[in-house]
């Protein structure tokens, strides 16, 4: 455990001299890549954890001017549609229901301006948990109550919540259910790329999602859309190395899927987690913030586990709801805006009084820019 932790998070991954040499290489590569493209190079970090890591390490100020990093649709809270947030709030209003959730969901506002935090102040029973298994334990300990876990996220969280549901089923728990507002990363990339206005020259792909799904599902990005891909870890030097690998692909004109995070990611991913996802979930329509419902881009409970679907159990209807007025979260997720482009950023919208989810989530682009000043 200790050795593994050091391998993943050794001080070497934050080493100043190694970082300086990576930046100096990046400066040369970016100039060459920009010359190749005839414009500034735009890469997208798909994952919110990358967005945060870039801001927290202060590396944006070190980037060459020919490179711009855009934030993508990889923040679980941010991509959840306004309509789905409203459904979560509706669940919290049901008498007797205990909502178990990760902390990030607490302050995301629904279309009426309320959030789970304000629901708690009005008397709703909202419990912060660190693992969905804690929610299963809560249900076992409170048989007279209904416990609903708020499942949102990507291929990283889906297997964890899947395993909680499997455990609840084995234990015969009738009072546990979950939402399954899961999104899939490869279809999200296809959504971005199918937009002719997109200017993305390369993807820094999410390390944790790829540890589950492997590198195969991204092949279409390089082959069909000719866009470079590098699966990347989360330490500062991982990110610098990932960017340099993308720049080299741009210069060579030979896009492919590379794996910088090979200490965690195997080409085939995690077969046990994939099997669990296939058992508990099936591919479905998902409703994306600012985009709306898109076929085959998410997961819902499979027939065998449909009884655990909180939305079906409590018959919660979906209604399209508008984005908060003036909020650019939707454009941000598509790589079409950066936080300072938003008129609300830092004024009407701050982390403690957030308008949009990108300012609420600890992985949101606006929260990263606000908190770290870039």
């Amino acid at each position: 455990m200790k050795a593994a932790a050091e391998r993943f998070s050794s001080p070497l991954w934050r080493d100043r001299a190694l970082a300086a040499s990576a930046i100096s290489e990046m400066t040369k590569l970016a100039a060459a890549a920009a010359a190749e493209k005839g414009e500034r190079v735009n890469f997208m970090e798909v994952c919110g954890t990358h967005t945060m890591a870039i801001a927290a390490s202060g590396m944006r100020k070190l980037f060459p001017k020919e490179l711009r990093m855009l934030s993508g649709p990889g923040c679980p809270v941010c991509v959840t549609s306004q309509g789905d947030i409203d459904r979560i709030l509706a669940l919290a209003e049901i008498p007797g229901v205990i909502i178990a959730t990760f902390g990030d969901m607490l302050k995301v506002k629904g279309s009426k301006g309320l959030d789970l935090g304000s629901a708690r102040e009005r008397g709703a029973d909202i419990r912060l948990v660190y693992s969905p298994l804690d929610a299963v334990a809560l249900a076992a300990a409170a048989p007279s109550r209904e416990v609903v876990f708020i499942g949102v996220g990507f291929e990283t969280t889906a297997p964890v919540i899947g395993s909680a549901v499997v455990r609840a089923k084995k234990a015969g728990l009738k009072n546990f259910s979950s939402t399954a507002f899961f999104k899939l990363v490869p279809p999200a990339l296809e959504l971005l790329l199918s937009d002719p206005e997109n200017k993305i020259h390369g993807f820094l792909l999410p390390g944790h999602v790829s540890a589950i799904i492997g590198t195969g599902p991204y092949k279409f990005v390089a082959e069909k859309y000719r866009v470079p891909c590098v699966v990347t870890g989360f330490e500062p030097l991982d990110i610098l190395a990932g960017i340099n690998m993308l720049l080299k692909q741009v210069i060579s004109g030979e896009p492919r899927v590379e794996d910088e995070y090979f200490r965690a990611v195997r080409a085939g991913g995690n077969p046990a987690a994939q099997e669990l996802m296939r058992e508990v979930f099936s591919v479905s329509t998902a409703s994306w913030r600012a985009i709306g419902p898109v076929k085959n881009t998410g997961l819902e409970f499979s027939k065998a586990y449909a009884a655990f679907d909180a939305i079906k159990r409590f018959k919660i209807k979906y209604a399209e709801a508008p984005e908060p007025a003036g909020c650019l979260c939707g454009k941000m997720l598509l790589g079409k805006a950066l936080p300072p482009d938003c008129p609300l950023f830092g004024g009407a919208c701050t982390p403690s009084n957030a308008v949009g989810p990108c300012m609420v989530s600890s992985e949101g682009a606006c929260a990263a820019w606000f908190k770290y000043g870039a």
Binding site: R14, A56, K61, L62, P236, F370
Partner: protein
Amino acid sequence: MAALSKVALAHGSGGRLSRELVESVFLKSFSNPSLLPLEDSAEVRIPGATLAFTTDSYVVTPVEFPGGDIGRVAVCGTVNDLAVKGARPLALSAGFILEEGFSGDLLARITASMRRAADEAGVSIVTGDTKVVEKGKADGIFINTSGIGLIPRGRRLASSSVKPGDIIIVSGNLADHGVAVMNARNRLGLGGAIKSDAAPLNGLIEAALKIPGARAMRDITRGGLATVLNEVSGACGLTAEADEEAVPVSAATRNACALLGLDPLYVANEGKIVIFAAPGAAAKILKALRSHRYGRDAAIAGRMLKENKPQVRLNTAIGGSRIMLMLEGEQLPRIC
């Protein structure tokens, strides 16, 4: 500042919202020259002497955790709030709010632990109070402690006295307390390697004050080093600059924070202080700290700049830089 409509949990986090609550409600009602500096304890002048006076309430779940318990924290927190003003603790009070049904054995363990911490600090708990509330009206046990101390003549420690060029010294590894409690509360399975640092620091502080040159000291509790640096920067009007690599954090705690998505600079401590020292005195103060059992991992973590702009900058490990704000709301573990 807008009037407060409702108290939210984040108003108790020790960060920016706590500050807003204090300013918009408590200062509005209570404002006076002793309270106004909003330091860890207030100075109260009486003929011939200056006293330090402080109070703090303690609510921790679970009440016992690796390295400490609510009683130890209640004594150490108040002793430390006095000591960072340069005061020698004279006497403490302890008020208990107990929930009907609370275990007598556990209460006895907590009070024994308070006695041990008070003995270590060389102070007595000279007065107290007990209230019992119906089951469900409190979470087991809440403790309030107050303390008075004597500030020796000639000593003046105040955040507003900090000068450009002053050196920022941290007394040891940060974030152990917050991570230990979070691990115990949520059974995160990080093992018992990370222990709360709860400790009375009046001995350590006396050792540091033997060397002239300390201009201010702060107890680094809720909100972590980042929040305290922001408060001091606000009080003296200067930019504070910290070096990420130089801020002491143990490898175990750093890894635990990385796993949970927490920033150790915002995590609570119960046995760490930050000292703002004149440049010429910093090395000697550091040496004095390091020769004390509670200061072995002390380190120089940064400096105050000339810029008259109250903000905190962090030079990152890889050579970048960014700002560091006060804690916003509660620190919450991430989703993935």
